[in-house]
């Protein structure tokens, strides 16, 4: 994967086992977000990305959620003008059976309401676990930073993903918030059996949460292993932790 003359990702190869929490670390500009963008379909790399039996590079971005691949973004990317509830509900959009013409005809309580009601109820349950049921009708843009971050994960979850890509879900959070969010992510992974691939800078979060870690530097994979193995790797210490 390259942009102009810059090789953003070069021969990166690794695999993620189902049901695990996998970390991606590396210095700024290492290609971590580019990697996630390739998996979620924002970019099409040369090479191959396989998910189960499916070759992802042949699928367009909006089709990948159909395989169960959902994501969040490094910079908060919620629908600020829409209500919190609508933000979550649209996460389940791809699960709707009705065709789009039918969806035009859904007016409040009429039309294809059973599906919509189910989605609505699921969204409300999710908002309760997020402790956001009180703000469900507020424009999402008015939420606090931490709430917006969690809302984004909530939106992805309503798509019932089997693989969840999290791009720095804890950036800018306090220690306490990070602990809570880590606990929630662990819970998601265990109870919903969602595979999680997350980019994170905080090594204590990585050590507490992930089972496997891939380290990128200048678009190349420089190490892979358990968090413990990785922090002891000489190349990682030089590239990432700044040791000579």
């Amino acid at each position: 994967m390259s942009f102009g003359g810059i090789q953003a990702l070069d021969g990166v190869s690794f695999s993620v086992s189902p049901g695990t929490i996998h970390g991606i670390i590396g210095p700024n500009g290492a290609g971590k977000t580019t990697l996630i963008n390739c998996i979620s379909g924002q970019f099409t790399p040369s090479g191959s990305i396989r998910y189960g039996d499916h070759e992802l590079t042949r699928l367009r971005a909006h089709e990948r959620i159909g395989l169960g691949i959902a994501r969040t973004f490094q910079h908060i990317n919620i629908y600020g003008e829409l209500s919190v509830l609508d933000n979550v509900k649209i996460g389940g959009h791809h699960r709707l059976q009705s065709r789009w013409l039918h969806q035009c005809l859904y007016w409040g309580p009429f039309g294809c309401s059973r599906e919509e009601t189910r989605l609505h109820n699921e969204a409300m349950v999710l908002l309760e676990t997020l402790d956001m049921e009180d703000v469900a009708e507020l424009p999402a843009g008015e939420l606090s930073y931490g709430q917006q971050k969690r809302l984004e994960i909530g939106r992805a979850l309503l798509g019932q993903p089997s693989l969840l890509l999290l791009d720095e879900p804890m950036a800018g959070m306090s220690r306490q918030e990070k602990n809570n969010l880590s606990e929630w992510i662990r819970q998601i992974s265990r109870e919903l059996s969602v595979t999680i691939l997350m980019i994170e800078h905080d090594m204590s979060v990585i050590q507490a949460l992930t089972e496997q870690v891939v380290v990128l530097d200048f678009g190349r994979k420089i190490a892979e292993g358990t968090p413990r193995e990785v922090v002891q790797d000489q190349r990682v210490r030089i590239a990432y932790l700044g040791e000579e």
Binding site: I65, I90, H93, C104, G108, C112
Partner: protein
């Protein structure tokens, strides 16, 4: 008083048409960030379609009008499918250039088929003006106004309450995030074009029914621009209010300036003064979103 009321009513009607056409403009901009410079030509061609249907099919204006909307929807889908989808990843400026080209082509078609002359609809509505009490208004103005209000109300509710409306609002808010939850962007763009074509055609038929049809109807595309900017480019409510404001300013200003200066045709200039002033002092318009540069 009568003079003022007459100008005011005129202004409100013209403004309602601006609002409705601007809705299409704003919608395409919100969905795909493309400024559609063929909006006026869509309005023009819609009016000619309706004229042709009225004359050839002899079905009466209502059926012809509805059929026009269907035809325009098909044309919008074709425009998206054949021209714009290939340019999904092209720079926005290129797409804007394509809409300008599209407009020129549509205008040429009209010139070839119908010529540069003014054509009038066969009269289908009573000439007897309707008495509002303080002023008498021709019936077609009242119908025109009601149609505009009905269309805007309909689409307003559609965006607010349907699943498709939600998808469109989400796409307007963030294309990348919408795609990540499985929204096929090209369908949303196509629908935005369909709505734009429908409201433009409606505006074209109303204007054409009042003043007759000429290829100059396409100038509406530029004339709604001040309303779009005053409204804030990406705000549907703002544009609706701005459309009526601009219409009223144009008519009142044009009317009184003509009396004072003896020069006619000053009315259409006023909105562009407003445009310039708005861009100076409040570039995000009445209700548009402020662009904040992250540095």
């Amino acid at each position: 008083m009568d003079y003022f009321a007459g100008l005011l009513i005129n202004g409100i009607l013209v403004g309602a048409i601006y609002s409705m056409v601007a809705l299409g403009f704003v919608l395409i901009y919100k969905a795909s960030k493309v400024l559609n410079f063929a909006q006026g030509e869509l309005l023009m061609i819609g009016a000619y379609f309706c004229l042709e249907l009225v004359i050839r099919l002899q079905t009466g204006i209502v059926a012809a009008f509805l059929l026009t909307l269907v035809l325009m929807s098909v044309m919008a889908v074709l425009i998206e499918r054949l021209i714009l989808r290939r340019m999904m990843h092209a720079p926005v400026m290129s797409v804007v250039m394509v809409t300008i080209g599209l407009g020129i082509m549509l205008r040429s078609v009209v010139l070839m088929v119908w010529g540069p002359i003014t054509i009038h609809f066969p009269s289908f509505i009573t000439d007897v003006p309707f008495d509002l009490g303080f002023v008498r208004v021709s019936v077609i103005y009242i119908y025109g106004f009601l149609i505009c209000v009905a269309f805007m109300l309909f689409f307003g509710l559609f965006f607010r309450y349907t699943r498709t409306g939600l998808v469109m609002r989400a796409t307007a808010s963030s294309q990348v995030a919408a795609r990540s939850v499985g929204v096929p962007l090209h369908q949303v763009f196509a629908l935005a074009w369909v709505v734009a074509a429908i409201v433009s055609a409606a505006g074209g038929v109303i204007t054409g029914a009042i003043a007759g049809l000429t290829p100059d109807l396409s100038a509406y595309g530029v004339r709604v621009f001040p309303a779009v900017i005053l409204g804030g480019l990406d705000s549907i409510v703002g544009t609706t209010i701005a459309g009526v404001l601009i219409g009223v300013m144009e008519e009142l200003g044009g009317g009184y300036l003509r009396d004072w200066t003896g020069l006619s045709g000053l009315g259409p200039v006023i909105p562009f003064f407003v445009l310039i002033v708005v861009l100076w002092i409040r570039p995000h318009g009445l209700m548009g979103s402020k662009q904040i540069e992250r540095i």
